[in-house]
């Protein structure tokens, strides 16, 4: 018991550095997913038939192929085929980001469609281009409505980020495994890794709830 704790104590700084890697992975992926996802959603709602079809295929692909397959496909297949030399860490962010973009786009799309049609009409009636209307009127409202769904997506991406381990990214899970396989202290290490994931989930969703409250439009009851 004491021995386990000593090992764990010694390994904690190492695990914490992995936690930072995990946070960077998730932040990068969620950020990429936000930017790509918003554009996918706007294209899906307002785009022409061909654009909508193309986006449909994108979403079908990234929701349908398992994460591990996509990681290998991009890292060992696509990028090396194209002669682009990216670190495993970068590829993991890109793949996680492109996948969550597909899911996030559906959160945003639902939010956009839930807004009354009159919002866009009123914006157009004032002489706004569709682009201005979307940026100034539609998205500020749709993004507010998307926060709960986005928070859910965050907790999923956080967990999925552990799979980056398979590319050799030294995130939390990789480090826990590394120490555990050397010291045979499996239980305390994986337990700690799990606990840190839980704490990150808690902090992230809590933070997003605070944000949701902060940007809530006055006068609306929940």
């Amino acid at each position: 018991m004491i021995e386990s704790l000593t090992v764990l104590y010694g390994a904690l700084p190492y695990l914490f550095r992995g936690t930072l890697v995990t946070i960077a992975l998730v932040a990068g992926a969620m950020g990429l997913g936000l930017v790509v996802g918003v554009n996918l959603a706007v294209g899906q709602v307002y785009g022409n038939r061909w654009l909508r079809k193309a986006i449909g295929i994108y979403i079908w692909f990234f929701r349908g192929v398992p994460l591990l397959v996509l990681l290998f496909l991009f890292y060992f297949g696509l990028f090396s085929l194209l002669g682009i030399n990216l670190s495993a860490f970068t590829v993991a962010i890109i793949v996680l980001g492109l996948i969550t973009a597909a899911y996030q786009s559906q959160i945003f799309r639902g939010a956009i469609l839930s807004l009354p049609e009159g919002q866009l009409k009123a914006a157009r009636a004032l002489g706004m281009s569709d682009r201005k209307a979307i940026v100034l009127i539609i998205l500020p409202q749709a993004l507010r409505l998307s926060i709960p769904g986005w928070s859910n997506e965050y907790s999923i991406v956080l967990k999925d980020s552990a799979v980056a381990y398979a590319l050799g990214v030294m995130e939390m899970m990789a480090r826990a495994h590394f120490v555990a396989s050397r010291t045979y202290e499996h239980l305390p290490l994986y337990f700690s890794a799990g606990l840190i994931f839980l704490i990150l989930t808690y902090l992230g969703t809590k933070g997003l709830r605070v944000l949701e409250e902060k940007v809530r439009i006055p006068g609306y009851s929940r």
């Binding site: 009159g118 009123a122 009636a125 002489g127 706004m128 006068g219 609306y220």
Partner: protein, 254 residues
């Protein structure tokens, strides 16, 4: 009256949804300072006609001139410039829900008319004061009553310096006790010479203030004429029927 110039001319406006024609060859023109009021049964095509005028609904056929210049709506720049000159008031207000009353009025001044923040703010406050909302500029739509919301939307339209205003049943979504505060603002616009087309069921208001009533049913403009004649002895049988029914329903005064 005859010497006043024509501001807006609509010719042969037609709109189909699928196989259903909801607007058939509607033609209309407005002289400077004129108020024309669209009346007619629900589903008759009033909203469609008004929204075709600023191309919120794309007509299948029809031409529009503002100040003698034809508007080609496929040219985006022209369309956006034209819409700035045509104020639109919706039945359900359509205020931007995430913006305060002040921001609602300000936003197009800054982002469309490219005024400075300061200019836009001053103008917006003026317009809101003019509709009696000087004390409510910081409120969000959800914190305003229906009558207040509609007045904000009128201020928002007026801030753009429109040449024409289109009002689509501006009081129909309001509780009865809030109707007059909005009608008062519209009366005031009328007195200041604003050119307007408005649809309404407020027949008393219409007969007092309109230059002409336009009766629209099943997408057809069946009759146009001065309110007195339309309400008491219209030429068209259907117009007479509708007018007597609506007078009964909404009363003669406002």
């Amino acid at each position: 009256m005859a010497h006043r110039k024509t501001i807006l001319r609509i010719e042969d406006m037609t709109k189909r949804y699928g196989s259903k024609t909801v607007l058939k060859n509607a033609s209309l023109s407005l002289k400077e300072g004129e108020l024309k009021i669209l009346i007619g049964p629900s589903g008759g095509g009033k909203s469609t006609l008004l929204q075709c005028v600023n191309f919120l609904v794309k007509p299948d056929k029809g031409r529009i001139w503002l100040d003698g210049e034809e508007i080609i709506h496929s040219r985006k720049k022209e369309l956006y410039a034209y819409r700035q000159k045509v104020g639109m008031i919706f039945q359900d207000f359509n205020l931007f829900d995430h913006l305060t009353a002040l921001q609602n009025v300000q936003i197009a001044l800054v982002k469309v008319k490219k005024k400075t923040k300061e200019q836009a703010r001053t103008r917006a406050i003026n317009e809101l004061e003019r509709v009696g909302l000087g004390d409510h500029i910081k409120k969000y739509p959800a914190q305003l009553s229906g009558g207040q919301k509609q007045r904000v939307s009128i201020a928002r339209a007026l801030a753009m310096d429109p040449k024409v205003m289109l009002l689509d049943e501006p009081t129909s979504a309001l509780d009865p006790e809030l109707i007059s505060e909005v009608l008062d603002v519209i009366i005031n616009l009328r007195l200041h010479g604003m050119t307007m087309i408005m649809s309404t069921h407020q027949i008393g208001f219409a007969s007092e203030l309109a230059d002409e009533l336009v009766f629209l049913e099943d997408g057809n403009i069946l009759e146009t004429g001065p309110p007195k004649k339309m309400l008491s002895d219209a030429d068209c049988e259907r117009t007479r029927e509708f007018c007597s029914k609506i007078t009964e329903l909404y009363g003669n005064s406002f």
